[in-house]
């Protein structure tokens, strides 16, 4: 969602929350459910840590099992459920967003391993048929540090997001190990 397709640059970009809510409404209307865990800028926005309006939604995991309507365990987001992909594509059209505004590229992080206890710290929110899990602050620090070291520029979004998370030395040291 970093770059809107709209030809009018002055037009206010749609809020991330509107687009996510729309995905949930579409799933519910189809009688479908999906569970995703998001990290990155979208997680920071949804967690109230940064105030950007738009951001790609990086899915790091999908719900693997459910208990009483709530995701009970997660797995690598590969592939994303077909019903979710249909909803994401429709929302891209309806909100004039790039096709891949919600994607699972960050799922490659599973190759390096997720922070220990990541799954237990996920906080779940419900948007219609969409259960959306937000990674915990300490996990976001871990992942942002990992992303920021690849960007030498202090002005980079990852670096700035890491600053916004206000990690202390102990948290940075833990993330670095």
């Amino acid at each position: 969602m970093k770059a809107a397709r709209s030809g009018n640059p002055e037009k206010k970009a749609p809020a991330l929350l509107d687009a996510i809510r729309a995905v949930g409404e579409l799933l519910a209307a189809e009688g479908e459910t999906a569970g995703i865990v998001v990290v990155g800028g979208a997680a920071l926005i949804l967690g109230g840590i940064v105030s950007r309006l738009t951001e790609d939604v990086d899915i790091i995991a999908t719900a693997r099992s459910w208990r009483k309507g709530v995701p009970a365990s997660i797995s690598r987001p590969d592939p994303l459920p077909a019903s979710l992909l249909r909803a994401v594509s429709r929302v891209a059209r309806d909100f004039i967003l790039p096709e891949n505004w919600m994607n699972a590229e960050v799922g490659a992080q599973w190759d390096m391993g997720l922070p220990p206890g990541f799954e237990k710290r996920v906080r779940w929110q419900q948007f219609g048929g969409l259960s959306l899990g937000i990674a915990d602050r300490r996990d976001l620090i871990y992942l942002k540090l990992y992303a920021a070291v690849d960007n030498e520029e202090p002005q980079s979004v990852h670096y700035q997001d890491l600053l916004a998370l206000r990690p202390d030395k102990r948290e940075l040291a833990a993330a670095a190990t």
């Binding site: 397709r5 409404e25 209307a29 909100f95």
Partner: protein, 311 residues
Amino acid sequence: MSIGIKKNIVRTITESAIDSAWIQWRSLGSLITAPKSARSLVDPEALVLASLTLRDHERRLWDVLASWAVTGSKLLSVQRIKNLTPEYPTRTTDRLAEFARIAFMEGGDHRWRKLAGAESGPRPRTQELRRPSANGWDPAALIVRLRLGVGVGLQADIVAFLLSQKGAWASSRVIAEATGYSVYAIRRTADKMAEARFVESTGHKPLEYRADRAAWRGVLGLEEDVLPWRYWYQAFAFVADLIALSQEGALEAATKYLLSSHLRDLAEKHENAFRLNRIPSPDPRQSAGEEYVAAFEQVAEGLANWMSESA
């Protein structure tokens, strides 16, 4: 609680479509009253499909249709109506089977046999609303008139479309878009017509065709320019879908966003109706999410106004 578009939108469009149909049937020589003559060429198959759609709202349209099915079906193209029906909702095409049955059983027109259903639809109050031979032709009835003269088929429709272009060249694709025939069929027929000197062809790429206005005016005894072509089958298809969706309750949704998304589907499906007829409509890319509901209402109002002005 469900959310819908403004209640008067569907009603306004329906009324505008009924008025248009009424004017067009009158211009084809039907024995009915209408406030004016049509301002654009009447597309006979589009008019049949529109009238079948509007039958519930204006029962007299069924009387006109039943009259035409008995004495005028031979002036309609079965092939063309088959080409156009995929653009229309099932409700309309189901009723076409009733029209076809009357044309086949009572009109003796065997071309309609394959389209005929088991029922003939509601009993019409009269089947004498078509004048078998017109006393003078309304300029809007050019397509029907040409079909009567040269036969029902692509030739008459190609000539009518080219004459409406006032001497401008038109490609096979443009003619196909207007008439609903395939590009291949148009090119094959138009090439033969050019060889017979019925129309002119550029003879080279881009391959385009035009009709000699002066010559055809002489043949047809026209005193004024041919009326403009309007893309009625595309416009009526939008109306038919809108009415069908309204009757099915599909113009309501649980949330405003869901409604906006359904409306976007509808507008996307029928974008040709707006593009070809140059009906002003807001760019959907400027109305994100639920903002499109208001934009769609403008689109629908634009179509209603266009029908009032163009019929």
